[in-house]
Symmetry: C2
Subunit: 402 residues, 2 copies
Amino acid sequence: MEYSFSKSVEALSSSAVREILKLTQGNQVLSLAGGLPAEDSFPIAEMREAFNRAFEQGAKALQYGLTDGYLPLREWIASRMKQKHMDVGADNMIITTGSQQAVDLLCRVYLDEGDVVLVENPTYLAAVQLFQFRGIKAIPVDGDANGMDLDDLAKKIAQYRPKMVYVIPTFANPTGKVWSLERRLGLLRQCKAQNILILEDDPYGEIQFDGEAPYRSIFSLDEHPTDSCVVYTSTFSKIVAPGLRTGWAIGDTRVIQMMVKAKQAVDLQSSTIDQYALYELLSRFDLERHIEKIRESYKARMEWMHELLVAQNWEGVQWEKPRGGMFLWVNLPEHVDAEKLLARSVQEGVAFVPGKPFYAAEPQVNTMRLNYTLLNREDTELAISRLGKAFHAYSESLVTNV
Amino acid sequence: MEYSFSKSVEALSSSAVREILKLTQGNQVLSLAGGLPAEDSFPIAEMREAFNRAFEQGAKALQYGLTDGYLPLREWIASRMKQKHMDVGADNMIITTGSQQAVDLLCRVYLDEGDVVLVENPTYLAAVQLFQFRGIKAIPVDGDANGMDLDDLAKKIAQYRPKMVYVIPTFANPTGKVWSLERRLGLLRQCKAQNILILEDDPYGEIQFDGEAPYRSIFSLDEHPTDSCVVYTSTFSKIVAPGLRTGWAIGDTRVIQMMVKAKQAVDLQSSTIDQYALYELLSRFDLERHIEKIRESYKARMEWMHELLVAQNWEGVQWEKPRGGMFLWVNLPEHVDAEKLLARSVQEGVAFVPGKPFYAAEPQVNTMRLNYTLLNREDTELAISRLGKAFHAYSESLVTNV
């Protein structure tokens, strides 16, 4: 049989990075590559009890349910969103298989092949892949530590007539960046004026390290939450557990209803029992306290990695200490190709993600993303030490090659 | 905000049927409309225990997992597939969010806008919707009680150059039809010769009412299972519980790997904990005996509905007693429009699905699909009696209108 795949599959062709990371599976390589939460942060006992309570609801917990999601869970989330100045009800919400699916569903109902989405540069690599998979052009907008450059945004809007802007304004993946209020308002103002949809992806917003008030979501800054140009998505993956694959999107009911119809075609619904159990957990659990513990733990891990990197004292290596989230974004010396460094690092027994695939265009190959949430203190120390060996060996090989 | 949705969304526009069925939610309407399994068939206590055992595995059960699915579960399914003459390993398999997602993923990696898929007429309405959502043309092939007409198949292949044929050869939705061995082999031969992919959708194959040997899947009839022109998909929705949203697809590794990449972009993976729990269930559960009980129960329900329909003795109404599956397909008198009958039926307190949306083209509007698995004996009796009232009232209204 000669298979003849869709043209769209070209966007999914295996990357060099994925091939290298495959080598790390099942052996002694320490991974700073993934975006995995710390396993000791999972409320295992509470979750187990919640599943048991879900089963007390009887057969309904194992039956088909609504495509838009279990109503008590949507109501619970809506009330939490309200505390964060997002004035929505259950009708403004769809439960998705992680926030990843929210991005996919919105793309499928809102964008056509050839449409343009503006993105940060770098941005979440799986979103870029998803856009390419659907034949959508992802055009990067310049930015700095405070978010997208509003002048370049205006220029790119005029030049490309985008239908959507995709942003992660709080503790971005991969950079850890936080947008200033001014940039958030500026993006909102321009998009409203030009009828452009904003997809605000907020998986990390809860993981804030300073004791300050939470950063306002762009969705919450819109005066008209029920006629908004913003669709907001988040997930329980980082504050409860990713294996439940439960995320949500909120927006105007017209947009949400379209996403519901798409989801009905795509997979009918996400797991009923997981939604029941999650609701049972949340209705009795002190989530705020749990999140507080995650913040403290992740902050300590971040500080530890920062200290270890400082101690390594590599020449020409720079990073900003993130104010939240799960990643440390590192600028390597200009002559370093992080993909080549990765190959060397895997030999030493440590993996990370090179920066290149996070760029929709004009990649800076001398960048890398380090995750500090998965490994414990000891393994992090070992990982950074191995990374140091790889860095020196790689730097020497460059000198030799010259 | 003026939203501007994708062109593809037109395929998802709300149907008259969906609007009518919405009226049935939350009130006293008895539903013969859905494809819901009997809730007393769910192994609730065993499943609850299985979740508890899954939690004994610790944090891994709540962490991110492999996109292709939990390996022990894939191995368990592969070994069961082997008993059904499908010689596959875990590498030939992807776990999906129900078999619905398998159809979506295969479409996304194998088909482009404008491509043609040949289908039975009528066929599963959500598959037709999914094809339309992706801009794929679904072209019907003529058929009879034994499956697709092989001459018409050859004609349509020559005329439309399809990339894929989508079939439900065993206890089809909506007709309950079973393809003969000759037709299965004929389809396989033509598709192999012409390099056309077959998507064999088999959610109901286990629900067989006679004591005969199971019908051979088309996949199992291919001499080269690892270089096959068949992708086979099935699900635990009908033999364990749909709320777990766990299905699978098997095929050549090249096809499966593409589907894995698509799934990675679309939702990363299906629920980890559900896959762990399902494996825990299956590794200790007597699934064969459980399926046997479902068969007996559904056969009794089907016979009961058949008896009730015979007793109604409606003029010009015909149906075949299904040999398995979950649906009874009814041909109404030629002058009856089942959508209008539905509107009348909902007033009487009973719902079903009119046949029209199951047709990719040339719909026979005087058809309807009745589900016999959800309601108990008493409610089924009441439902058919209400349907009788509606049928007579509707028939009289036709006479009056003339």
